[in-house]
């Protein structure tokens, strides 16, 4: 192809017009959320603190969950638990019944009245728990191959589930937050 080298070089030296600013703005509008998706990836790769920030985001609910678990262990193993502290497990009747029947459980053989006296929290009169979910983040994880199926696009949603127990008579509120992930695979129709 060397006989055309000069011609090719000359052709390449002529540059096509760039898209107008108005057209680029139109593309930006049409992209919508997709523009933000790719943006986030760059931010994570280039800016290390941003990645750390994402982990921090999950730290409070994780710490809260861990703290409540530790506290529950402490409470069940200590018959004279703090009267001012609260436990999200108090109202979980099924769980409670299971523990009460378990001979190895610290509350085995303890009546509800005794439990109420020990914990300082009422065992009756709780309202139905209110459950809310917060969508925290959506991460597009790209293409995945599935044997026997068309390729899919995997999207991971990060939620925070919040459960609120209320005891109107004693004006007591117990809030539990739990991180949750959902993965959705979208079938691709590639153009």
């Amino acid at each position: 192809m060397s006989e055309f080298e000069d011609l090719e070089r000359e052709l390449k030296s002529i540059r096509p017009k760039a898209p107008s600013a108005a057209f680029t703005a139109r593309v930006a509008d049409a992209l919508g959320d997709s523009a933000d998706l790719s943006f986030r990836r760059i931010s994570n790769e280039v800016d290390k603190p941003a990645a750390g920030g994402k982990l921090w985001f999950f730290l409070p609910p994780s710490l809260a969950l861990a703290a409540s678990l530790v506290w529950m262990l402490f409470f069940w193993s200590s018959p004279s638990g703090s009267e001012e502290s609260t436990s999200p497990a108090v109202d979980e009747a099924a769980s409670l019944a299971g523990r009460a029947e378990d001979p190895n459980s610290p509350i085995h053989g303890v009546s509800l009245d005794e439990l109420e006296a020990h914990s300082g929290m009422p065992t009756h009169g709780w309202s139905d728990p209110q459950v809310r979910e917060f969508l925290l983040d959506r991460v597009d994880e790209g293409l995945i191959e599935r044997p026997g199926y068309s390729p899919g696009r995997q999207v991971r949603y990060h939620y925070l589930d919040e459960t609120l127990w209320m005891h109107p008579a004693s004006n007591t509120r117990v809030i539990s937050t739990t991180p949750r992930q959902e993965v959705i695979i979208l079938d691709l129709d590639l153009y």
Binding site: R9, R15, K17, P19, S34, L37, S38, F39, R40
Partner: protein, 187 residues
């Protein structure tokens, strides 16, 4: 508990698609203009193709331009099929907007360059699109073949025929110009 919004991420840097589009938009638009019937359709075509591909692959941060070329091509075929025959006939008459209108009209685009572009315009469409993808799209023959659904041999021979014709049509001018630009433009 503090919920982050996407705006917090947005403040870090510019969306990646913008730099990608600045780098590849011109050559994609040039190809779209060859596939469409008028400049407005070309923009619509490019927008639709780019948005579709970016939604699928944009998260990777780097999308192969070949995917967008292919999408442009297939959308153009779909759009052409969706129009009735009469419309197609009418629009074909006005379809011949010259190639040089798709290139920069700067001072350095001298008469010779316009002559070259006019010569490119005279090429059969199937050769012109191969030439466009190779020269300005900077695709390999393999990528061009996949974009246009052609075999590697067909692509290579069309490209060669196109260059041969151009050289035949402008032999004197090429020889008279010993100092052709040596730098390949970086679009």
């Amino acid at each position: 508990m503090r919920i982050r919004s996407t705006n917090e991420f947005k403040m870090k840097t510019e969306p990646i698609w913008k730099s990608w589009f600045a780098r590849h938009g011109a050559k994609l638009l040039l190809f779209a203009r060859q596939q469409a019937r008028n400049p407005h359709d070309a923009e619509d075509l490019l927008q639709e193709a780019f948005v579709r591909i970016w939604r699928l692959y944009g998260h990777t941060g780097e999308v192969a331009p070949g995917l967008v070329y292919r999408a442009i091509r297939r959308l153009a075929i779909d759009w052409a099929r969706s129009l009735d025959r009469r419309k197609i006939r009418e629009q074909k008459v006005t379809a011949e907007f010259p190639l040089y209108e798709s290139f920069r009209t700067e001072v350095e685009q001298d008469e010779r360059q316009q002559a070259i572009l006019r010569a490119v315009d005279r090429l059969p469409p199937e050769q012109k699109e191969v030439l466009t993808l190779k020269i300005w799209g900077e695709l390999t023959f393999d990528e061009i073949g996949r974009t246009l659904d052609l075999s590697l041999n067909t692509v290579a021979s069309r490209y060669r025929y196109a260059l041969q014709k151009l050289k035949e049509w402008m032999p004197g001018e090429l020889e008279d110009r010993p100092h052709a630009p040596k730098e390949v433009s970086d679009e």
